[in-house]
């Protein structure tokens, strides 16, 4: 790993970015701003990927998530925007029980993963892109093909669901 001070600074910066914008994603009343905060979360996670020396995944994350999925979400928000112009009561549902549940879950997950942090020495060599590609066409070729099939099915299904001709006549 390169010089550890830069790693530390980058780690804390990315962590702060991810956590602050993740909170904004779930509390902001304005949905458009929440989506933009999600973009910040995704960029922050991509930064963490780079710090973990998984550059390819970081680029995929930015290309697919920020480039494609977020654009899609923003389009969907704009298409359905007419109804949430009063942004006041978007997040008022069962806030207290939900925060208790999320907090308990957070503590439980932390306790459960506590023991995993023992072996803190990383492997000597990082995972190279060539290794990843070889894995995808040998051991993991079945999941890869299944994902491809799923992707086609999802796209066809999305078009079928969203196309205006497929609508049932009764509203």
């Amino acid at each position: 790993m390169p010089s550890s001070l830069i790693i530390q600074i980058g780690l804390w910066a990315m962590t702060g970015l991810v956590l602050v914008s993740a909170v904004l994603v779930v509390v902001l009343g304005n949905l458009f701003r929440a989506a933009l905060s999600l973009g910040l979360v995704l960029v922050g996670v991509a930064g963490l990927f780079i710090l973990l020396e998984a550059e390819f995944l970081a680029f995929v994350q930015i290309l697919i998530y920020v480039g494609a999925i977020l654009t899609l979400v923003v389009f969907a928000i704009m298409l359905t925007a007419r109804l949430h112009t009063p942004p006041t009561r978007t997040t008022v549902r069962q806030q207290l029980p939900a925060s208790v549940a999320a907090l308990v879950l957070f503590v439980l997950l932390n306790l459960a993963t506590q023991s995993l942090a023992q072996s803190a020495e990383p492997a000597e060599t990082r995972v190279s892109l060539a290794q990843l590609g070889r894995e995808l066409i040998t051991t993991l070729v079945l999941p890869f093909e299944v994902i491809s099939l799923l992707f086609v099915a999802a796209m066809v299904g999305a078009i079928a669901v969203a196309s205006s001709k497929a609508q049932a006549p009764s509203a």
């Binding site: 780690l11 962590t15 956590l19 993740a22 909170v23 994603v25 779930v26 929440a34 995704l42 990927f49 973990l52 020396e53 998984a54 995944l57 994350q61 697919i64 494609a68 999925i69 899609l72 979400v73 969907a76 928000i77 298409l79 359905t80 109804l83 949430h84 978007t90 997040t91 008022v92 939900a98 549940a101 999320a102 879950l105 957070f106 997950l109 932390n110 993963t113 942090a117 803190a120 020495e121 990383p122 492997a123 060599t125 990082r126 995972v127 990843l132 894995e135 995808l136 993991l140 999941p143 890869f144 994902i147 799923l150 999802a154 999305a158 078009i159 669901v161 969203a162 609508q167 509203a171």
Partner: protein, 100 residues
């Protein structure tokens, strides 16, 4: 020395925030945004342990998570748009088309 503990806490926090968002949000698109947070927590864990153990399969599964997230977002948003067209709302607690 790797910041394993640190990143595990970040990932747990992302996951819990996603759960919180799913539980509190009324708007279906906002719920989808929270689900993206959950998926990101999972893929962050995959990449972390891929680096820790030097295993390329974990990175491959992080890739699969990103592909699955793309599928989920497309289908989810298509459903939301279809819902908006038929039920004239995107608030999940106002959708009662199936109520007998």
């Amino acid at each position: 020395m790797m910041p394993v503990r640190h990143l595990l806490v970040v990932s747990c926090a992302l996951f819990s925030l996603g759960i919180f968002g799913v539980l509190t949000r009324r708007n279906a698109i906002a719920i989808l945004l929270a689900i993206e947070l959950i998926l990101n927590a999972a893929s962050l864990n995959f990449v972390l342990f891929s680096r820790l153990f030097g295993d390329p399969q974990a990175q491959a599964f992080a890739l699969f998570i990103i592909a699955l997230a793309a599928c989920e977002a497309t289908v989810g948003l298509a459903i939301v748009i279809g819902l908006y067209r038929t039920a004239k709302t995107v608030f999940t607690d106002q959708v009662n088309l199936l109520r007998g």
